[in-house]
Amino acid sequence: MNRRDPIKTQVRAGIDNDPEGPLASIQLLSGEPRRKLDARFRGLCVTIAAVSVLVLIGLLASILLQGVPSLSLTLLTGGPEPDPSEAGIRPAILGTLWVCSLCALFTLPIGVATAILLEEFQPRNRYGRFIYSVIQLNISNLAGVPSVVYGLLGLTAFVSMFGLFGSRTSQGGGLEIGIRYYDQFFSEGMRSILIPVSDPSRPVSEPVDGMQGIDTSGNPVTLKVISVGEALPTGDALQYTLFDDAEAGRITKKAWYHFSLPLGRGVLTGALTLMLVILPVIIISSQEALRAVPSSLRDGALGLGSTPWQVVWHVTLPSAMPGILTGAILAMSRAIGETAPILIIAGIVYISRAPQNLMDDFTVMPLQIFNWISRPQEEFHSIAAAGILLLLGILLSFNALAVLIRQKLHKPLS
């Protein structure tokens, strides 16, 4: 190395041949040791950077090894059956779809509006500036709150609503619309007969002769009640005949618009809780997108006589849209993977179908995966791995979409 650099060699020789003592220390500082240290540090850096790549490979490999053999169509179409060979994740996929779409619907307007307020509408006075800085500090702190804490907030604020509306039980309670209560009898002809119940807090009906009910297809029927020991009628009449000791069960029918307060452990609660979790994320990413819009665009619009909102609506927001969308997609992929808050509000329950209304019980993909991992049987672990593959597939396609939007829509603005 020295041979290739004549000036260095000369200086080096000069230092080496100098009879004075102090210059020796300069040689120590300027020579090989420092370059060696640099090379070693570079080596350390490369090794450590390779570790993170290796970790990712290891993570993916371990999941692929366990998951690929269990990937099957049953996984996509089945419910969480107790038999591992029949278990599937369909209700959880649909639950995730419901919860995350609702969550996006709530979060995007509020998040983008907050970002617009903080970035585009400058505070008008001292108090305004103070409030802005409090909001800004608050948002960065909210981003650091563990998601499990949001789950507990959701449990009190949404599931039971501080007990303001009473508690919901199978007997009704709270405020409800779109729900009907029935007492269900099974007639001696093995037909299900429903007796509409007007007041769900009353006890389950006793069989009375001449009772009016409806059958399963909704036709009105009149019930005939006979005492135990009496001879059963024959033919059609058998289907509407009950013994007087028959016991009814209380069932409910919920319309698609069923709504109730308190919200309970339903889809809407899940969406609202996830909203709390990802709102700070969306606000921060939207703020960054708005900040990246060059101020000359705003100045131009203002110079043409636009009002502040016209500037935002016609100029800033369209320019910032790719950035906002990218941030929103990444935030949604976080919402899809979020487990802890959903676990706190929904608990681990057996859900075999898609949610039917906003109040319906639900489960989401990561929660179903958690459920499978925490079971002792090996088979469920493989299914969990297959479920993880599906989840990662969805998340990766979301990320790819974000990258695509960033590249396709993002035109340089300055």
């Binding site: 850096c45 450590i48 993170s52 790549v53 290891g58 993570l59 907050t114 650091g144």
Partner: protein, 327 residues
């Protein structure tokens, strides 16, 4: 000339509105209407801005009232909660609510995680910011982004199914659920956080400082470690604090891999329960909804919230100060 006169200084505001309106050819849409719309929109924006304050208020209110109901219970005393290391909320006769057992578990997992995430994250950040050629950067950045985007339940699976068997193969003393395995997984989870925040801090150091050092004959190592890192120190510390907060609040990994036995131990081979792990245990079990153990969940959450809030606040303050220094 007369038309120019009519555009002279307006005498009253409505006059100007009328004239501008006529000029635009839509007199029906007066500026008053536009101003009204602006005010309404501004009010909506402020309302959504205040919503985030409402969330913080709601968190504090909810945790506070439920924690008060917890301490009102006969089974709980302050001395027991803050003075005991036995966390035993479920067993009827010998209930004990000593939060230190859970805090100790949390600290153990966090310490293991940070001993991985902080050095590796910082060195990767230095490499990305000061050393890495473009090609390496183009590989490493997406890898870190993917690692950051993987759901925590997946890391939990990885810890339980891969890290734990490896640890057990290395040393037979590890139990099925152990602090080390959860800690390593949390460390991997926090690595991208540390790395991207620290890299931001390093990138914010003005180029002039580096050029000056190179001009004096410094090597890359000298520039990175002796110039850039000290200059970005507050940003790096902030990154560390935010990562610690994230590790303390991490839930699904510890729920899956750390175990469910709350004990004050420093042995990473043993199973521990963290604060978040306890909450998951309560939520996934069939515990009655209004017992003391139910409210204990909120008391634990309050403790967790205070800890993470303090860490995040200090982290954000440190970073903010640092930003001002270089603007």
């Amino acid at each position: 000339m007369s038309s120019a006169n009519s555009l002279a200084t307006p005498t009253w505001r409505g006059d100007l509105d009328d004239r501008v309106g006529k000029y635009l050819g839509r007199s029906h849409r007066s500026l008053k209407l536009v101003r009204g719309r602006e005010t309404v929109i501004y009010a909506i924006l402020i309302a959504s801005g205040l919503f985030s304050l409402l969330i913080t208020g709601a968190i504090i209110y909810v945790l506070a009232i439920e924690t008060v109901s917890f301490f009102k219970s006969d089974e709980v005393t302050f001395a027991n909660f803050f003075g005991s290391t036995t966390w035993n909320p479920l067993l009827g006769g010998t209930k004990s609510f000593g939060i230190w057992a859970l805090i100790c578990g949390t600290m153990l997992v966090t310490a293991i995680a940070m001993s991985i995430a902080l050095p590796l994250g910082l060195i990767t950040a230095i490499y990305l910011s000061e050393y890495a050629p473009r090609g390496v950067r183009n590989v490493l950045k997406p890898v870190l982004e993917v690692l950051a985007g993987v759901p925590t339940v997946v890391y939990g699976f990885f810890a339980l199914m891969t890290i734990t068997p490896i640890l057990q193969w290395l040393h037979s003393g590890f139990s099925v659920y152990n602090a080390a395995s959860a800690g390593i997984a949390v460390g991997i989870l926090c690595l991208p956080t540390v790395c991207s925040l620290a890299e931001d801090a390093l990138q914010a150091v003005p180029r002039g400082l580096r050029e000056g050092a190179y001009g004096l004959g410094a090597t890359r190592f000298d520039v990175s470690v002796k110039v850039v890192v000290p200059a970005a120190l507050s940003g790096i510390i902030s990154a560390f604090l935010l990562a610690i907060a994230r590790a303390v609040g991490e839930t699904m990994i510890v729920a899956l891999a750390a175990g469910s036995l709350a004990q004050a131990t420093l042995d990473p081979r043993q199973q521990v329960q963290t604060m978040t792990g306890f909450m998951v245990q309560m939520a996934s079990g069939d515990v009655s909804n209004y017992g003391t153990e139910y409210y204990s969940m909120y008391a634990v959450a309050f403790t967790l919230f205070v800890m993470t809030l303090a860490l995040t606040m200090v982290g954000n303050l440190v970073r903010r100060r640092f930003r001002e220094a270089y603007e």
